[in-house]
């Protein structure tokens, strides 16, 4: 697995990060990191505790806005430092301002009450439209915003829509939902039924629910959870919870899967199963995987490329062999050898 597939089949970059910086007050968690993920590769991000790996992860996933830097995903700029985002609320209230001014003018000119009422109604409709658009942020709206000089970073759900799936370092399943419900929530973006369909229980809605359940069972089977569909997530053993979280992330049919320490707290046998699973996902589902991992055995075994972070800075990058021999990496992990 290693080495041979260093370059991705078509050489395209799925994700391109340039100069990503994240500062929490005085703490520089991630400092100007450049990072590429080629299509179809398994890329690992390693580093000592507190190196900023998870922060970097969260920036990619759209949870944190970066302090500086740009991230392109599928060739589209998704994440960057927000620009003039304070302007956006003014855009929402623009119809209200204009409408209010028109109404005031009409009132001064002694317009009749029905006219004033109609103007008020129009203003309200305009306000509704802008507000709902601003809240829902459809893709067209996101693309239109930069034209007026506003840039807003993608939110987590926008990233999922664009094809990113993730798991969490500390498992964040919906504990009081069953395994299959968890996967169904993961499939949210893949389902179409609106609340109107649900209320009317249309044929389309019922068919979609049925096929979604079928697909969800398929994902559960894929990660090795058979016969546990109706088990509450919190009642599953630890290893199964990790696998369920992966199944949930797969539900959105991601092209890039972010795994935050997938083998943390697992015994060697479970770890081996996880390695097999990740490899199979890449092969069967054509996935690209970004991995944060502490277990060097896992990293060396499945990664095509390894990037090492320390104190928020990238100190090494390359194939597992190159990184293993890199003196800077050894120093970061073991400390400076005494003179």
């Amino acid at each position: 697995m290693t080495g041979a597939e260093t370059t991705a089949p078509d050489g395209g970059l799925l994700l391109k990060a340039r100069g990503v910086t994240k500062r929490f007050g005085g703490l520089l968690a991630v400092n100007s990191v450049d990072f590429d993920i080629p299509k179809g590769a398994i890329v690992s991000l390693i580093g000592p505790n507190g190196a900023g790996k998870t922060t970097f992860f969260n920036v990619i996933a759209g949870i944190y806005d970066p302090t500086a830097g740009v991230i392109d995903f599928h060739g589209r700029q998704m994440i960057a430092r927000p620009q003039r985002s304070w302007l956006e609320p003014f855009l929402w209230f623009l119809p209200a301002f204009i409408g209010g001014a028109v109404i005031a003018f009409a009132a001064i000119e002694h317009a009749s009450e029905p006219v004033l009422f109609l103007l008020g109604l129009l203003t309200l409709i305009g306000l509704m439209t802008t507000m709902v658009t601003g809240a829902a942020r459809p893709v067209r709206y996101q693309k239109a915003l930069p034209r007026v000089g506003i840039f807003k970073s993608a939110r987590p759900n926008d990233m999922v829509q664009a094809g990113l799936g993730r798991t969490f370092q500390n498992i964040r399943l919906f504990q009081n939902m069953t395994a299959i419900e968890n996967v169904l929530v993961g499939m949210h973006t893949q389902m179409k039924a609106s609340w109107v369909d649900a209320m009317l229980s249309t044929r389309r809605d019922r068919a979609e629910e049925l096929s979604a359940h079928e697909t969800a069972r398929g994902y559960l089977k894929l990660v090795g959870l058979v016969g546990k569909d109706d088990e509450y997530a919190k009642n599953l053993p630890y290893g199964d919870q990790r696998r369920l979280e992966i199944a949930r992330a797969l539900g959105s049919k991601p092209s890039l899967l972010l795994l935050d320490e997938p083998t943390a707290g697992m015994n060697p046998r479970e770890t081996q199963q996880m390695i097999t699973l990740i490899n199979r996902l890449r092969r069967d589902l054509d996935l690209t995987v970004l991995l944060i991992e502490h277990d060097m055995k896992v990293v060396m075994e499945i990664s095509d490329r390894v990037t090492v972070l320390d104190h928020g800075e990238k100190i090494a990058e390359g194939t597992p062999e190159e990184v293993r021999k890199n003196p800077k990496v050894i120093e970061a992990y073991l400390g400076t050898p005494p003179e």
């Binding site: 968690a29 949870i63 609320p89 509704m128 942020r137 759900n157 999922v160 969490f168 993961g186 919190k234």
Partner: protein, 392 residues
């Protein structure tokens, strides 16, 4: 899980009925509501109960209880399903009621059809639900509660002070009674309202159950459980919460129109904070998230408030005990509600008829190991911080 999977050939009748009821849920609700309403109607005219008050008064009380059941069911979407605390819910009730008053009263000389106004009232309430929700739903928990509380205070005050349009404290009177397909509702006999209310409640119950088990119902549950994880699974938390707000407001709009058409008068005092509070108490007592539980809770609580406390008054007045006979239980109803809420929160936070999932959530702390409660992340900056909450 069920007995059926263990011993397929010997399923008890009870389990079989339960399974069938789940599969044909809409029919079950239809049959249950029909039978229940007929039984209640008969109950009100049987001897021990018809002695307390006239049958018509009972039915009148049931119709009023139906209004509160509608309100509680709507608030259950917001609080029970999506987990958003809304303390200004009466405002949407007011929008529905005033819309009907504007559309069908001598005040505006408009007399639009009842069914049209029913839909319009719900739509207007939904619009205001969205207008309130869009800017505020980025807030969470306590902050959202404060904003909704403020909104709930503003609306009745607006209706009070826009005297030119609402006749202020006098309210708008002489509102048309409903006229459905040529059938004019009578003034005194409450039976037609009872039937109308049963029909509306049946439809709303069916729709609520469908919503709960749909894609959006799961999204609400996910947001309630873990908003960050929900967003990381592609759920647009803002629009999903907005939908909860709008649908909750719609139900309140229905209730408002029905209430206005029944009372034939609307005035701002009908929509004060006490209404929001009463409905909240109904949802909590009934069991947040459990649709049937909330409906039953609202029915019971309304009848306690409107019937039981009055009867207690009558009973104690008859006793001729010096202090007891002067107690006015109706005056103390909010004290009693408050005490009931405090006791509920202490001993049975999941409500009288809890939903399975809510009970699990509320008792999670007792079952889990303490170290699983908080994410353990020793050195790196917290990845569950506040930045995502405050993003615009």
């Amino acid at each position: 899980m069920t007995a059926g999977s263990v011993a397929p050939e010997r399923v008890s009748l009870r389990d079989r009925i339960r399974t069938q009821a789940h599969v044909h849920r809409s029919w079950t609700i239809f049959v249950g509501m029909s039978v229940g309403s007929v039984l209640l109607y008969l109950w009100a005219s049987t001897v021990p109960f018809s002695l307390f008050q006239q049958q018509n008064s009972w039915i009148d009380g049931f119709v009023n209880a139906g209004v509160f059941m509608l309100l509680a069911l709507g608030l259950n979407i917001v609080i029970g399903m999506a987990g958003l605390l809304d303390l200004g819910y009466a405002a949407f009730f007011a929008f529905g009621a005033y819309l009907y008053a504007f559309g069908a009263s001598p005040f505006t000389h408009l007399h639009l059809p009842f069914l049209v106004l029913l839909i319009l009232g719900a739509a207007v309430a939904a619009v205001f639900g969205i207008l309130l929700g869009a800017p505020t739903l980025r807030l969470r928990g306590d902050y959202l509660a404060i904003v909704t509380l403020g909104f709930g205070e503003i609306v009745p005050i607006l209706f009070l002070n826009l005297e030119k349009y609402t006749q202020g404290t006098n309210g708008i009177g002489g509102i048309d009674r409903p006229n459905i397909f040529g059938y004019q509702f009578p003034g005194i006999d409450q039976t037609p309202y009872y039937i109308l209310m049963t029909v509306v409640l049946t439809i709303v119950l069916i729709l609520m159950y469908r919503l709960q088990d749909s894609r959006i119902g799961r999204a609400w549950a996910a947001i309630r459980e873990d908003e960050l994880a929900a967003a990381a699974n592609g759920i647009n938390t803002v629009t999903t919460k907005l939908a909860a707000f709008a649908l909750g407001a719609t139900t309140a709009g229905f209730a408002g129109v029905l209430n206005a058409s029944k009372l034939t008068i609307v005035d701002p005092t009908q929509f004060l904070f006490t209404v929001s509070f009463t409905v909240l108490a109904m949802v909590v007592l009934g069991g947040m998230g459990n649709i049937a539980g909330v409906a039953v809770g609202a029915f019971v609580l309304y009848n306690v408030q409107a019937v039981l406390l009055k009867q207690l008054n009558a009973l104690f007045e008859g006793l001729n005990v010096p202090i007891l006979e002067n107690i006015d239980f109706v005056k103390y109803q909010y004290l009693l509600f408050g005490i009931a809420l405090v006791l509920m929160m202490l001993f049975r936070p999941e409500g009288l008829f809890p939903s399975q999932r809510r009970r699990a959530e509320l008792h999670a702390a007792e079952e889990e190991l303490p170290d699983e409660e908080e994410p353990t992340e020793p050195v790196e900056p917290p990845n569950t911080g506040v930045t995502e909450d405050t993003r615009v």
